[in-house]
Every structure is written in C-alpha cells, then in structure tokens.
C-alpha cells in the first residue's frame, strides 16, 4: 500500500482537474442542442438579474447621486442605523407582510374548501374571488382610495348607515395601515383561493372515504387530511407571498404616500424615495441589499422549516 508521504499531490490534483474537464466536455458533447436551448435563459438571468444585483452591490459602497460617484466604504450601511425612517419602514413592512400573509393564507384555504363543493353558479363565485387579482395594483389602489374617501366614500357611507361614526381611513395613523392591509388582502385572496383549490382537487377522495368509514366528521377530516395534504401548496404560498409582501409599494405610493406620519411607509417605498426623489442612489442601493438579504433569510428559514416538517 502506498504511503501518504509518497503520493505526488500536484500530479493527483492535475489528474483530477483533467478528469473534471473531460466529464464536462462529455456532458456538452452528449447534448449540445439542449444546452444551447437553455442558454437564452441563463443569458437573461446573467444580464437582467445577476449583473444588476452585482452592480447594485457595488453602488451600495458609493455615494452615487446621478452626477458624481465616490467610494464611501460601508458608510451607507452604517448610516442605516441612524435612519429613523428605515427603522419605521422595516417595522411597517413586517406588519404588512405578516398580516396580509396570515389573512390571505388562512382565509384563502377556508374559502377554497367551501368553493370546492359543487353547487350552482360555483364557477361565477370562484371567478369573482379571482377577479381582483387580475386588476393592476394601481387601478385597485385608485378604487380603494375612492372607497376610503373620508366624506363621501363607500366605507364611511356604510358606517353611517349602521349608525357608526365616520373614520379617517387613510388620514388617521391608527387606521391607515389596517386599510392598506385590507386592500392587499382583497387583492391577493383570490390567487390563494385558486391555488388552494388546485391543491384540494389533487387530494384523493379515498382518504376522505376511509376517514368517514372510521367515523371522522367533516372538521376532523379537514384537520387530519386537508391541512396536511395542502402543506406543499401552503408552503409555496407562504414563500411567494412573503416575497411579494416584502416588496409592497404601489398601494403605499398611491393611497398614502407612506403617511400619515410615516405610519405606512415601507422598505421599497423608502428605497424609491431615497433613490429617485432624494438622489441618494448609493444609500438606496444599500437599503435594497439589506432587503435582499432579509427576504433571502426568511425564504431560507421557510425552506428549512418546510424540509423539517416534510421529514417529520
């Protein structure tokens, strides 16, 4: 047997590297058309996703203001700790993301279970729930701006009709965020319902029949069959919903402009203001890198939790 000291390490490394190159060449030779066909996607990914992220990272270490650019090291990141609006935006984003996600996922699942039954006009009901999702967020925000209008809006007219006082929905710090969250809930509920419906229709009827034979009632079947069987769908909706909700911007910009008293400003809203209103491109780039890591971290945590649940 050869002793470790006698082994020519550079030669082994060189042989190993050659083997790797040979394997890669073999793979390319095996199906060049396949690689060529997926090339546009990778080019797109490189040019329009990875390169901008890299450039954004570079900008975050500069004080670029659309006119001049100088390196500032990690000053932009340090300044985030002194930026009161960043802290407020972080908190508001978390509140918006949490409540919108919980409401859309919970109500989406419950509604999907009811809409999964076959009764007259069910297609129309399903479609009506889904229709807000296909409206652009800008148009939806304009509609809700009108609904929340303090003197003649539909929301206050309804409150008055049942004998309650009018509410300054978007002008009151207590009500502005709940109003914006409700708009998000209304907009995205239909999407979650449709995805949950697809998941429900994939669950085998045999499971329910077997449970019924064993004496399980409807609620127990829901707890023990529907919820576990919908876990992959729920997991998908939580991950995509979390990313979407952390990027909330249009409804904030249109409905409240981040106010009143910054009670609805969010991370993306702050990034937009800093970059395109105040021309602090470098600083805004640092904020967006923090947002990127935050979303990546939460997504990774979700995946970790998801894989653990799956294993258990």
């Amino acid at each position: 047997m050869e002793r470790a000291a006698d082994i020519d390490i550079p030669a082994v490394r060189s042989a190993g590297a050659e083997a790797v190159v040979r394997r890669r060449k073999r793979r390319l030779d095996a199906d060049p058309i396949g690689y060529l066909l997926i090339l546009p996607f990778y080019l797109f990914l490189l040019l329009f996703v990875l390169a901008p992220i890299g450039y954004n990272l570079f900008l975050s270490f500069t004080n670029y203001n659309l006119d001049t650019m100088h390196g500032v090291g990690i000053n932009n990141y340090k300044a985030l700790f002194y930026d009161r609006f960043f802290g407020i935006a972080l908190k508001n984003t978390a509140i918006y993301a949490f409540f919108t996600l919980v409401l859309t996922v919970a109500f989406g699942q419950i509604l999907a279970v009811f809409l999964n039954y076959k009764w007259g006009g069910i297609k129309w009901v399903r479609m009506s729930f889904f229709s807000p999702y296909v409206i652009s967020m800008v148009a939806a925000s304009m509609i809700w701006l009108w609904i929340y209008e303090p003197s003649h809006g539909v929301a206050n007219t309804l409150l008055e009709a049942i004998g309650l006082n009018k509410v300054q929905w978007l002008q009151d710090t207590k009500w502005a965020m709940p109003a914006v969250i409700f708009t998000g809930f209304w907009k995205f509920l239909g999407y979650n319902v449709v995805i949950f419906l697809a998941g429900l229709q994939g669950i085998s009827r045999d499971l329910y029949e077997a449970a019924a034979v064993d004496g399980a009632g409807g609620f127990r079947q829901y707890l023990k069959i529907t919820i576990p069987q919908l876990m992959p769908v729920t997991f998908f909706l939580i991950v995509t919903g979390l990313i979407n909700n952390f990027n909330v911007f249009e409804q904030i910009q249109i409905m409240t402009g981040g106010g009143p008293l910054n009670s609805t400003t969010t991370l993306v809203h702050q990034i937009y203001n800093r970059a395109f209103q105040e021309f602090l491109i470098g600083y805004a780039a640092a904020m967006s890198i923090v947002l990127l890591f935050l979303v990546a971290l939460l997504t990774a945590a979700n995946f970790w939790y998801g894989s653990r649940s799956h294993e258990s």
């Binding site: 030779d29 002194y82 003197s151 209103q277």
Partner: protein
C-alpha cells in the same frame, strides 16, 4: 459527435442569433434610438421633422441656419395647457426657418417628472429646453443638470422688463439657471354666499390671521351629532408645505437659511404659525392631501375659504359656471411680513444640450409679450412682464389686482439641494402639530434636529 448533431447545433445557433438580433433591433425605421419621445406619455413634433435628422444635426452643434430640432419638455396639467404649448412651438417654427421643436408632454407630478428626467439623464436624452418646477432649481440644480443662463440674460434686451422675482427664483448658488414664466400663486378664494349665510359681509374677506380665524369659526357648519358638514377654512393635512410655509414666512421665519444652506425652521415664528394652524385645523377642518387638487373640500362645496391656484379656480369655474358670482378673492394676509406662497415654473436649458443658442431663442420667444399675453388669455397664467401689468389688471380687476400682489410678494419652495428631505421632515412636524400628536415647538425642533442629523450621516 455526429455530423447530424453538429448540423443541428449550427441551425439552433443561427436561430438563436437571429432571435437576439431581432430583439435588439431598433423599432424606429430611421434608427433614432436616442429620441426622447421614445418613451414619453404624449409627444408631438410641432413641425413634423424627422427625429433622426434632427439629432444628426444636433450632434454637429452648429448655431448656423442648418435645420435643427430642439427637444422641449413640459409638465402637462390640462388639455388647454398642452394645446397652448404645442401651438406656441408651431408659431416659433413659423417665425424662423431652421429650428424645429420636438414637444413632449410630461406627467404633472414632480415625482413622476423626476423619474422621467432620471431616465433621460442616464440615457443621454436630457431635453434641450425643460419647463421646470421651482423645487428642481435646488434638487436638480445641485446635480448640474441646468446650463448657466447668465451670459444669455446679460445680453437679453428685455431683461429689465421681467419682474425681479421671476429672475431671482431661477438662481442656484448665485448662478442663473432658470427664467420664471409661470407663477402659480395660492390665492385666498372664498364663497360669498356662505359668508352671507353666516352673517358676514361677502365683500369683506379676512385680511389678517385674527380675522381669518374669527371668520372660520363663524363659517363652520356642524350637524346635530357634531360632525362637520362644512369647514370654515380648508386646512390640508398631508403634503401641505405650500400652504403652511406662507404662514411661517408671514410670521417672519426664514424656514431655511439659503445662503448657509442650513435648516432654520425651529424658531418662535414657525412655532406660532403652527400653533395658529393647529387651532384652525381643530376648529373642524376636513383633512385632505394638498397635492390631490380634486379632493380639496372647497371644490365640492364643503368649505367656505380655501387657497387655490389660478388654474384650479379656472377649472372650478369651468365645471361650475354658476359659482362665477359667488366666488371672491382675499388679499395676502397681513402679519410681520407681506408674503404669499407662489409656485413657479421656469424655462431651463439642459447642461448637456448641444443646441443652447437655439434653445435660448425658443425661450425668448416664449417670454415675448405676445406669448405671455396668450398664456394669460388662454390659461390664466399671470404675467411676469412689468410693461403688461396695467393691461393685466384692466383685463379683470376683481381678481387680477389681487393676483398681481400675490405674484409680486410671492415666495416659493426653498431652493436647496435637500428640499426633498426638508419636505419630509417639515411635513411630519406639521402633521404632528395639527393632529396634536406633539406640541408645535417640539415637533419643529425634533424635525430640524433629525434633518440636520440626516444631512450629516446620509450623503
């Protein structure tokens, strides 16, 4: 690898190359990818000149008689305004032989204009002539986006006829970068019928702070439950700086020391102004966003006194002609300083423009007596030429005599590179004050401290 596989690869590669080439091809038949109209919301070439030819000429930078095209961008506001500028550009083209004008209508919001200008700057398609809001003098002037007009102004024979305020507002750090042509004063407008209803003399609008408050109290109408049916005076809640800055200045606050470039709004004068406005708000104002002009309670008959621009008044009277005899105009309120808020639009020339002489020729045409008077007749834009003042007042004494005082004593947004950041903090202080979240003095001090801290740390 087989011949067939290689052949397949070659065909695929060719198809891919064709696809990429097709995607990258310029959609314009003349290949004018630099045309600023490419992404504009609403664009028109006044003379129908080919953009490609124009840009080719522009690149030569010759102030000769060769045909050239200048790009003119202005914020739209109404169809009448857009029609005026497009027609004026045509008249300019007809007045000489070699300069064509490519007119682009921008959205009216300052933030939307910022987005357009940012894109234009990064893509090298900044306009030759741009009708800028006053706020841009500081925010974009600091980024060297506007050419120094000092040389042109010195040689301009009509300079002495232009109101000093129209020229002074266009200065950034002593350099003339804009020529004011479109004053937009916020004029006290009131409903005479509501005054009569409240037992007030409809021909005697308030003339100072005390009278305004007393009248507002009498004019406020509430229902049995105490809900506001009609406000005495409009006191906006959000984005209200044009409204409250007038009160701060009337009471003697400099707001920002523009020479030193430091905030100076946490003073006694501003505190008193905010306390006064808080009292007015608490009387029973209907909260609204000052930037959303269609939500102003006065427009829907839900308040008796408001501050409106001439354009807003004109639109209101066009929508509700029966209000013509029911609306009156109040003077600039008397306090320590005789000052009103007057927004402005200014003609600027892009610092990267290669057609500065031609651009200046267009600006002087637009500043001519003839065009200024047309703007007044068609758009109710107040004049800024001294020689037109008498004619202007005679045309409509009821409003124009008031208007001219607003324009002359008008002051707009502070011209600093950090006006946007100042806005953020001062709006917060104002909202905190009027909603009684904080006492006025504390709200102002906190805002000023935070702004100074931010200017030091976030650069």
């Amino acid at each position: 690898m087989t011949k067939k596989t290689w052949l397949g690869s070659a065909v695929s590669l060719t198809l891919l190359a064709s696809l990429l080439a097709a995607c990258g091809a310029n959609g314009s038949p003349n290949g004018n990818s630099n045309s600023p109209n490419a992404g504009s919301d609403n664009a028109a070439t006044a003379g129908g000149t080919s953009g490609a030819a124009a840009n080719a000429d522009a690149s030569k930078n010759e102030p000769s008689e060769k045909p050239v095209t200048i790009n003119f961008w202005f914020p739209g506001e109404s169809q009448v305004l857009e029609d005026y500028f497009i027609n004026a550009a045509k008249e300019f083209e007809a007045s000489q032989s070699h300069i064509k004008v490519n007119v682009t209508v921008l959205p009216s919001g300052a933030d939307e204009i910022d987005a357009k200008l940012n894109a234009a700057k990064l893509s090298g398609t900044y306009p030759d002539v741009f009708s800028a809001y006053l706020i841009f003098m500081g925010t974009r002037g600091a980024l060297n986006e506007f050419a120094d007009l000092g040389g042109y102004l010195d040689k301009w024979e009509d300079k002495s006829d232009i109101q000093e305020s129209a020229l002074d507002l266009g200065k950034y750090q002593g350099k003339s970068i804009g020529v004011g042509y479109f004053p937009a004063p916020e004029i006290m407008t009131y409903r005479k019928d509501f005054f009569t209803e409240a037992g007030l003399d409809p021909e005697k609008p308030p003339t100072n702070w005390e009278e305004l408050k007393a009248d507002a109290e009498k004019l406020t109408v509430k229902d049995d439950k105490g809900n506001i049916v009609r406000a005495g005076v409009d006191v906006p809640l959000n984005n209200a700086s044009p409204f409250f800055e007038a009160f701060m200045r009337q009471n003697g606050s400099p707001i920002i020391d523009e020479e030193k470039g430091v905030p100076a709004f946490a003073d006694q004068a501003s505190t008193e102004a905010f306390e006064y406005l808080t009292d007015l708000y608490q009387l029973g104002a209907i909260p609204y966003d000052y930037q959303k002009k269609d939500t102003v309670p006065f427009v829907s008959g839900k308040s008796a006194i408001s501050y409106l621009t001439p354009a807003a008044i004109s639109n209101l009277l066009k929508d509700k002609p029966d209000l013509k005899d029911k609306i009156g105009f109040g003077p600039v309120l008397e306090r320590k300083n005789h000052v009103a808020f007057t927004g402005y639009r200014l003609f600027t020339i892009g610092s990267t423009s290669k057609l500065k002489d031609e651009s200046w020729a267009f600006i002087t045409f637009m500043m001519s007596k003839d065009q200024m008077w047309k703007r007044y007749k068609q758009l109710q834009i107040p004049i800024v030429r001294k020689s037109l003042e008498d004619q202007f007042i005679a045309a409509n004494p009821a409003i124009n005599s008031v208007l001219i005082d607003y324009v002359k004593s008008g002051k707009g947004k502070p011209v600093t590179p950090f006006t946007t950041r100042y806005n953020k903090y001062i709006h917060q202080a104002y909202e905190e004050s009027v909603t009684k979240a904080k006492p006025a003095a504390q709200a102002l001090q906190d805002a000023q401290d935070a702004l100074i801290q931010e200017l030091k740390t976030i650069k």
